[in-house]
């Protein structure tokens, strides 16, 4: 019998406090976002697929010298880098840079080993498609489109 009434008192009090908490939550603004219509900014550290960094603001130019370190280091073998010698240009010129995002594990070794710092993670997160081929990204084309 001891504590019977004090239990009712403390219990009732805590129940009322609980009601107060939910009432305050009820009148506070909503925190969720109606996604397809409203979007919130993604974190800059998000790891999307890799992309070439634009080194020149005017034209779509990148800094890749076709050393192939990214393709060699890739544990998933999902990067293809090809280049060719061109007249009057020092070193090789990049002709093909594709990444098969269906295989990519986003480990980031390509970004880390790039000696020219020409690669980075994009912050592309709305990726959905009907075929695998839609995820074979051509990064040079992508850079030009940007």
């Amino acid at each position: 019998m001891s504590g019977y009434f004090s239990e009712i008192y403390t219990g009732g009090k805590s129940l009322l406090i609980g009601l107060g908490v939910t009432f305050r939550a009820f009148i506070k603004p909503v925190v969720t976002v109606q996604y397809p219509r409203e979007k919130i900014d993604v974190s800059p550290n998000i790891r999307g697929h890799i992309e070439l960094i634009k080194c020149n603001d005017i034209e779509a130019k990148h800094d890749c010298r076709v050393c192939g370190m990214c393709a060699k280091n890739c544990p998933c073998n999902c990067i293809v880098v090809e280049g060719e010698k061109q007249e009057g240009v020092k070193g090789k010129v990049l002709t093909v840079f594709t990444v098969d995002f269906t295989k990519c594990s986003l480990c980031g070794l390509c970004v880390e080993t790039c000696s020219r710092s020409a690669l980075r993670f994009s912050n592309e997160y709305e990726l959905a498609g009907f075929t695998r081929e839609e995820f074979h990204f051509d990064l040079i084309k992508r850079l030009e489109e940007k």
Binding site: I8, L15, G18, L19, V21, T22, F23, A25, F26, K28, P29, V30, V31, T32, Q34
Partner: protein, 334 residues
Amino acid sequence: MEQIIKFIQTYSLLRMLLAFCCLIGIIFANAIVMGYLERKIAARIQRRWGPMEVGLQGWLQMILDGVKILSKQLIVPKDANRFLFRLAPLLCFTPVAMVFVALPISRSLYGINLNIGLIYIIAMGSINVFSILIAGWSSNNKYSLFGAMRSVAQNIAYEVPILLSLLAVVLTTSTFDLQEIVKAQSGPIWFVLYPNLFVAFVIYLIAGCAETNRAPFDLPEAESELTAGYHTEYSGFAFGLFAIAEYGNLFIMASIATIMFLGGWNGPFGFLSGPVMGAIWFLSKVFILMLTMMWVRWTYPRVRFDQLMNLAWKYLIPFSLVNLLITALVVKII
């Protein structure tokens, strides 16, 4: 003369039919409105938006859900008792409709005025337990059966404090007639303002919450433990009837609280208690009570079974008994 009597008879039959259609309409509309409000309030308490897609603020959502439920197949499990399985949702819904007949919504808006209205409503309300038991047992599913068993234990335990707390009001007014009970509160003081009847009101609200199987006392459904409890196996409109009956029961619970404690169709200080304004007062009181129930539902976690039983037998029943004794003494002395 015969013709006139015949006309009145046909007229009254028509009137009954019309009233019945209105009644079913009210029950369905109540379920739709309350379902929508429930989802919106739950969402706002959890700081979400709730239904937003169809119609302004998603107000069409419940109607679309109703249409979806109507278009679904009624699946009867292979080893279920077919007859009882089909019977249970009807048995759940019919008493709700029958209770609505006896509710005095305003001075002149009611189905029937029974002089034992309160007893009738409580008797009809307890059929609900029966339907849940039948639904759970006939599904031939262990979760449904668990839900049904819990429900029976719960409703039997909580019917006692409900009856005792309502009896306190009956002692004060010495009538079971709901219209008379409302008229007894036509002065400035509603019954909830009497200290002893205020205790009865609180006990009634807690026990009523348990009686309508709503959270925090929703053990018969307990989706985290029993999938959906007694209506696990129900699909299509059979499930819809259970949901509609749940909101109907909530309405009944709130309207009995309004009639017995909050002055029914009386306005505050007897202000504007005519037939039309009375109905508005009544419905607004009922809706405020129902919204409070929702607020409670989305605040508290579900109680454990032993806590549920302790609350009924150790707290509510002793308190309502003592309260009844005090009320009897007060009535005897005054």
